[in-house]
Amino acid sequence: MQKKELIALYHEMVLIRRLEERAAELYQEGKIGGFLHLYIGQEAVGSGVIAARKPQDRVITAYRDHGIALACGVSAKEVMAELLGKKTGTSLGFGGSMHMADVEKNYWGGHAIVGSHLPFASGMALADQYRDEDGVTLCFFGDGATNIGYFHEALNLAGVWDLPVVWICENNQYGMGTAVGRASAVEEIYKKAEAYDTRAMRVEGMDVMQVYEAANEAIEYARKEGPFFLEVLTYRFQGHSMGDPERYRTKEEVGKWQENDPIGIFRNYLLENKVANEKSLNAEEFSVEEEVQEAVEFAEASPGPEWQDLIDTIYVDEYRMD
């Protein structure tokens, strides 16, 4: 990556962090409803992988999706507006936190039934293969999703048909509050993929550059050869969702992981390699603050969707609806 791209990547990771911190506040104020799953701590995974994609490469993920959306280039304004349920949001305010997509950015959501989007990824990759196009589908999901039938059906099909898909398991150590070892008979999750003859790799997920390197290899392999499985070891610093009492882990454990904050690690990398100096990084951080503030103002000033907007999304063809 060039210097400019590295700075942009830093900007993006800080944006994900700050936007979500702000979202947590708005949730407490009752301005955001439903569930809110924060990506804080996992930024290096989404940012690192997506930095390695080409424009024709699709991205699809689970419900912890704000960070992935921003990494795909969705604007902070649209993300915030969706969180506030506004018509200017990614999904007209019909999806909320868990269902953000922006197909113009080749970002396909945001899916909240655990595992349900893994078959979509197989189907999307099939579409590329069918049309003889060279796109790769990048499918993110959590460690918990590897225990549901969907995972096995989707990986098997991708293997049988040699589909151009990269499976990215964000192993943040817990499926909600259940530790990986308490829910998965195979704790080294990448080995599950090997069972489907899928080439697999495990990588540390707190260092965005390591994730980026691995993703590059994975994506180019998938483009030429077929499915690739990337297990990325990471950690969420916040609860599973807002209001998580966090009885399943200790403050010491969380603190230990926070010592490896992906934003801090990348900041040091940029300074040590003289890509940037304190002053320029401070300027980036300041501009993120402004961007988040503008996003909140935009979202709050935006109108909500109309009833007819909802009706219009149900069927493409016109039918009598009663």
């Binding site: 039934i113 197989s122 999307m124």
Partner: protein, 323 residues
């Protein structure tokens, strides 16, 4: 008009649409080399090749799920489920995904998928392989549920379903595949979401669809010999439901019987009866009656299975009860 079987009608619709549109492809269990477990796709594999006629693992969730994903990005998949009973294994994909994806993402993309599934009882397959759960699927906004009862409708509606940008569950009935009927020689489409009067009469409105249309026609012939003229409205599409021909007919006959193969409780008949009470209460001259499957899991034993399924005699008796 040509006279062909239901199986041929469905097969022709698939064939013609695949010839017409390169984006259309079939995936499912045994659809390719085997030729379809009901021989609907016989010859397709040799003609269209393995790219467009794709045998899958026995994994309904990923059959429908991959179809959804491919549809989201512009292909037009036809996912075949060997029987509608296996659709329960893919329920999340059909109900939570196909039916909701477009709305949930603000209409950014369409999901032009067709899910073909065959249902119905009467073949001694036991309780889990003999169900008619159509009403379950018709419960959910966002899904289109089509269930034709004649070869003409099957062909025309399936072609419309494949061309539709909306997700369609296309329900066939296994015991109808051999049934023959007239089909136009030239290309034609039948509209989704439009009920059709299949027989005119002035004494009773009989509302039905799919296989029960055939039993209802037989019952109507026999009743006609006794001077009772039944008007039969075939729903053809369960969602979105077109009540207008039903209401129009009912306003003339003031009597209605609803015939369905599925269970009575919370069924299609419940919905139609409720709509008639809501929308045409002033025209009711007799209690609205339903003919449906008895409330039992269908047994293997032939005699008991037939006792549980609606028969022509049940329809005749019920019509007479409302006169």
């Amino acid at each position: 008009m040509a006279i062909i079987t239901m199986r041929e009608a469905i097969s022709q619709a698939l064939w013609e649409e695949m010839e017409r549109d390169e984006r259309v492809f079939i995936l499912g269990e045994e659809v390719g080399v085997w030729g379809g477990t009901y021989a609907v796709t016989k010859g397709f594999f040799d003609h269209f090749g393995e790219k467009r006629v794709r045998d899958t693992p026995i994994a309904e969730n990923v059959i429908v799920g991959a179809a959804n994903g491919a549809a989201m990005v512009g292909l037009r998949p036809i996912a075949e489920l060997m029987t509608i009973n296996f659709a329960f294994s893919a329920m999340d994909q059909i109900i939570n995904q196909s039916a909701k994806l477009r709305t949930m993402f603000g209409g950014q993309f369409t999901v032009p998928v067709v899910i073909r599934a065959v249902g119905g009882g009467g073949r001694q397959l036991g309780a889990t392989h003999s169900q008619t759960p159509d009403a379950v699927f018709a419960h959910f906004p966002g899904l289109i549920v089509v269930a034709p009862g004649t070869p003409q409708d099957a062909k025309g509606l399936l072609k419309s379903a494949i061309r539709s940008d909306d997700p369609v569950l296309f329900i066939e009935n296994a015991t109808l595949y051999q049934m023959r009927g007239e089909v136009p020689e030239d290309e034609y489409l039948e509209p989704i979401g439009v009920s059709k009067v299949q027989r005119t009469g002035s004494d009773v409105t009989l509302v039905t669809y799919s296989k029960m249309l055939q039993l209802s026609m037989q019952a109507a012939d026999k009743l006609s010999e006794e001077g009772i003229e039944v008007e039969i409205v075939d729903l053809r599409t369960l969602r979105p439901l077109d009540m207008s021909p039903v209401i129009a007919s009912f306003k003339r006959t003031n009597r209605a019987v609803i015939v369905e193969e599925g269970w009575r409780s919370y069924g299609v008949g419940s919905e139609i009866a409720a709509r008639l009470y809501e929308e045409a209460f002033d025209y009711i001259d007799a209690p609205i009656r339903r003919v449906a499957q008895k409330e039992v899991p269908l047994p293997y034993n032939r005699e008991l299975e037939q006792m549980a399924l609606p028969q022509v005699a049940d329809i005749i008796r019920t019509v007479k009860e409302v006169l």
